[in-house]
Subunit: 365 residues, 2 copies
């Protein structure tokens, strides 16, 4: 068993363990996860110019493969040098205008942070907080959307601090039904490529993530996909002369770059993280490799994640450890968040786990 580092550490003394199942023979922690050798070799690729003919298709293919991982036909990926957090800035600076309303569903630590980011760029934010280990009830979401017009709604697919998995399909369905104009933004830093995401089928507008978790590459790449509807909202804003709130995170700067590389030519705004894109390309190629003519391995991957997760959760349960998620159906498959046993503290347990080669990280809440 290997385990997790998540996005730690937080202010409080940890009272949860975060555990992640090993997969496909690799150790795995929620992030940065252990990276396959092929991916590390690619990260050591001799330096290439970002405009060289060798690099252009690597970048272009990576953009296309992000679509494939998310099961979307025409969403627009953005691959930008930065941490996953930069995805929040992209949403806040490009989609929400100062004074506009944003609804943030809170199922752990990262709801608060996304809310703070939105407020930095001038959004008016309302949070609905679930109890620790829970999710916001669909009726509360519907009621909030009926009460006020929101430009966007955000939620965390898997909140690393609680291990809670939100039902993205049903949240999206609720929003579409009650407030069809509201853009649906999913923070999927801890879920892309370890939990199934059906971007088009579910009707999502933004999925944002990072390279170092389920996508299996080193950290340093902010990855975001925006629906054509979201791009349209941004374009309409641009037409009205409302500038983006950020320079580095501006879609006005990055959209032409993404389109150029995907169409096979180079363009420049800021130097892309060339080596990391080679590594990301290698990891995407592993994730999307087809194991049989009809079964893409990404489907198998989700299955393996579910099975490995079940084994860990059963073992934890037989040891008397309880999970942070209140409902088994809302527990993530890419990681496991457990409470310490009654009466046992970090100083007792952690050294013993380390002695057995188990890496654990403190939780947030």
């Amino acid at each position: 068993m290997s385990a997790s580092t998540a996005r730690p550490p937080f202010k409080q003394a940890p009272h949860k363990l975060l555990v992640s199942p090993p997969l496909d023979g690799h150790d795995s922690i929620p992030g940065p996860i252990e990276v396959a050798d092929e991916v590390l070799y690619a990260n050591a690729h001799p330096s290439m110019s970002h405009v060289s003919p060798d690099f252009i298709p690597v970048f272009g293919d990576s953009i296309r493969m992000v679509r494939e991982v998310l099961f979307t036909k025409d969403a627009q990926p953005f691959l930008i040098s930065g941490s996953g957090t930069l995805g929040w800035d992209q949403v806040a600076a490009n989609l929400v205008e100062p004074g506009e309303e944003a609804l943030v569903l809170h199922s752990g630590y990262f709801g608060d942070s996304f809310a703070e980011c939105l407020e930095t760029y001038g959004a008016s934010v309302t949070q609905i907080k679930a109890p620790i280990g829970g999710t916001v009830p669909f009726e509360s979401i519907a009621a909030a959307l009926q009460e006020k017009k929101y430009k966007i709604i955000t939620f965390t697919h898997v909140d690393t601090s609680t291990g809670v998995l939100s039902d993205a399909a049903r949240i999206a369905e609720t929003v579409r039904r009650v407030s069809p104009d509201t853009l649906i933004v999913m923070d999927a830093v801890c879920s892309v490529a370890s939990e199934e995401i059906r971007f088009d089928d579910w009707g999502l507008d933004v999925v944002l993530t990072a390279s170092q978790k389920g996508l299996g590459a080193p950290p340093g790449l902010s990855i975001l996909a925006a629906s054509q509807k979201a791009i349209g909202v941004w374009e309409e804003r641009k037409k009205r002369g409302v500038r983006e709130g950020s320079y580095y995170a501006s879609w006005g700067k990055w959209l032409p770059i993404m389109k150029a590389y995907e169409s096979g030519s180079a363009a420049y705004f800021a130097t892309p993280p060339v080596n990391l894109i080679y590594a990301f390309h290698a990891s995407l190629s592993l994730i999307l490799a087809r194991t049989s003519p009809s079964v893409p391995s990404i489907a198998k991957r989700f299955e393996l994640h579910r099975a490995a997760s079940q084994r860990i959760k059963s073992a934890a349960s037989s040891l008397g450890l309880s999970q942070v998620p209140l409902a088994a159906s809302e527990a993530a498959n890419g990681m496991t968040a457990l409470y310490f046993p009654e009466g046992v503290g970090a100083s007792d347990l952690l050294p013993r786990l380390v002695g057995k080669g188990v890496v654990v990280a403190g939780g947030a809440a």
Copy 2:
């Protein structure tokens, strides 16, 4: 001879060649440059948690070594996942409040971009433009500073689009004399570790750069150093309750992280680019390795750059090629910008150079 890619390409057809001298047995292009094997190996370091005891001193030492490269005792480095461009956002979002005045000295393409970034965050920008290949006269700088109170002045140490080297010491001296409160911000993306920079002696307030040029690591790290005076200006703004204009580029978020890692403990805001910091650490260690007890190799490095640059510039001159910089004393030592010979176009010359294994990039102006 190897050559340059700079921050290309730009809209216009190239009418300049950008050439960079090889150094220390490694090929070298202005960015991303060729990277030493030791640095590439470090970039392939097995994945480590950003809070692991192994990684913490690597990050801490990198912060300390940035100070050493810049010859500063107490400036505050920020190492953040991102392109060099993110340094502009840091300056614009943390130091300049909406409506405040910024003076931008323009010695090439990157002056315009920095000005646009500052305006995005609400600054009121005045640019003084030098003729192509020239720098802004010191009297014009003094006159502008006498006429209006500026919160910051920015200039590009080496503008990759023109190969022009600004006299940073004398610009800083001029500002200190005429307008001592104005913060002096130097874009040194294309100069750190290839041109000498004396942060404290010259009295600079911000030096911003990136990993993939003179610092010899792969791209993906925004590196900035701020004087204690600049930090004080930012702190005073914070005390007045004026929020930073960015979330991801907020010093309020990053300062505690930098201080924690430097003091030997981990802290979390956004996942750092762990592998790249291992690589950056390896490159800084090479740059700062002492060749004799009394001579640090960084001094030798500047010397080698100057000598290699002189050889290329002499050879170009004997071929009848003229340099873009109007004055020899204002030509960069880390790269060379040349005009095409009269009557010879890119389509004639470039394939012949490629055939000889010479990489060249089009210029900007």
